[in-house]
Symmetry: C2
Subunit: 288 residues, 2 copies
């Protein structure tokens, strides 16, 4: 049920990207933007669409911020992969944008994907201006120097630090780096319905941390071909991770506990939250 | 009058940056963000504040989008200066961000400055949600792959083109690259007041083109020390510019005509538009 829904939603979002990007001039930079949006799991967009369904919000409205958050995620990957950042050759099983084109195009395509994210979150098709302004403001707060970029900056600072990060510091770093956008995505449905954000926020905070622990486990145990990206990066760089600090078994146990907490936060929604709960179970079972 | 007002507004905006950036964690990336916002003329922010005054909009509201557009402009400069883009060492008379720190910090600081721009344009202090959603949406459209980034992409494409650009093509390129943000800035006051955008839009379109022609003249005739940036770049790169296509005298005449058109567009506002008219006259007389 969950995997089908995830795939269906990814197709909806890809079709929406085609519509939106198809309206732009055909240039290297717009081709690179389209390329960068392809082939992902679409977990963040799925969280937007599914949390919207949970609140009976029409998919025709929710598809805009769902595509927006995938544009924002794509921008962060294109820039993260640059030689001056993580210097990665492979992303989603294909050459990274700066290899397929060049670094200038990768910088520009990432920039334009970020801009596109804010355009998509404020489009009039979404509904009342109050909702659109709130979506954009919260997205900026989740992705900027208090959210995702803060996490990336702490990650860079950790590389030149004298001692490896503590568990508390890594938790803080990851809450920004991956947690903030996952939280934004899961809360989007409640924002679209102007409903209480608290249950989805709690769901997402546990989910986001479980997601990162699973990523650290995948980095150690995964198959690069299946994952579609370079693995063992953290170990090679001598970086502290949840696995290096907790050990593999305790990390697995902690991730499973977090998934349980995540599911418990949605109890109030009854059976209609089943797909979101499945999503939480999926993040610790995935191989890519 | 105009130069004083420009300097006063630049101080207001710088103080607002201090307030906003001072709330962030003290890291290389946030220091680089602050550095990148310093030392500019602040023309775009001035246009926001002055067009707001023209509509009796309180500066306490307008300072948010005024600081936002300067954050967006700063992001575009930091990324433009990167080795994979224009590869510049000097900006506003100081080392560029990637030299003062490194390329990774420059990418990240630029990214976070773009995000900050959208945060500042949607902050609740600005007023009604309708205005905030409209400011953010129009900023995204002006700065993304249909606006500023389109202009930059056309500029890159022109470098590998077989023949130099025509006057029409350069006008289209510049309307995106510098024109769209100048237009957004000048229209912001009318947006804040929910007034008719047409006169300010016309003012800004002529102003933006005059600004670019003046930039091309400055690139040929200017003093790099006063300008605070590398000059003669376009000539060295063999790029077509307004000056190479029109000749220096005709380019000067065209810029002066455009400034007259720009001023004429504001006739309906009477004497209160005098500072904005002075701004138009300034853009073709500046030396930096």
């Amino acid at each position: 049920m969950f995997r089908e829904r995830l795939a269906q939603d990814a197709t909806l979002i890809q079709d929406h990207f085609d519509l939106v990007l198809g309206a732009l001039d055909d240039l290297d930079v717009t081709q690179a933007m389209a390329y960068a949006t392809q082939g992902g799991k679409g977990l963040r967009g799925f969280l937007v669409l599914e949390s919207a369904r949970l609140h009976d919000v029409d998919t025709a409205r929710a598809i805009w911020p769902a595509t927006g958050i995938e544009a924002l995620h794509a921008y962060s990957l294109v820039h993260d992969d640059l030689p001056c950042m993580d210097d990665d050759d492979l992303r989603r099983g294909r050459p990274t944008v700066h290899l397929k084109w060049d670094e200038g195009i990768a910088v520009l395509a990432g920039d334009a994907l970020q801009t596109l994210a804010f355009e998509l979150c404020t489009r009039s098709e979404i509904g009342p201006a109050e909702i659109r302004a709130e979506l954009a403001l919260s997205l900026a707060q989740a992705s900027g120097a208090q959210g995702m970029v803060l996490g990336q900056a702490l990650d860079i600072a950790a590389e030149s630090a004298d001692s490896p990060l503590t568990l508390e510091e890594i938790t803080h770093l990851q809450a920004g780096k991956t947690g903030a956008l996952i939280e934004w995505s899961a809360c989007a449905g409640a924002r679209l319905a102007q409903a209480d954000l608290a249950p989805l926020r709690q769901y997402a905070q546990s989910l986001g941390l479980a997601f990162q622990i699973a990523d650290d486990i995948l980095d150690i145990e995964g198959n690069a071909e299946i994952a579609g990206k370079r693995l063992q990066k953290d170990a090679e760089a001598g970086k502290a991770t949840f696995v290096s600090l907790l050990g593999l078994d305790a990390a697995r146990t902690r991730a499973a506990e977090l998934v349980e907490q995540s599911c418990a936060a949605l109890e109030g929604y009854g059976a209609s939250a089943e797909t979101l709960k499945d999503a939480a179970r999926f993040v610790i079972a995935r191989d890519s």
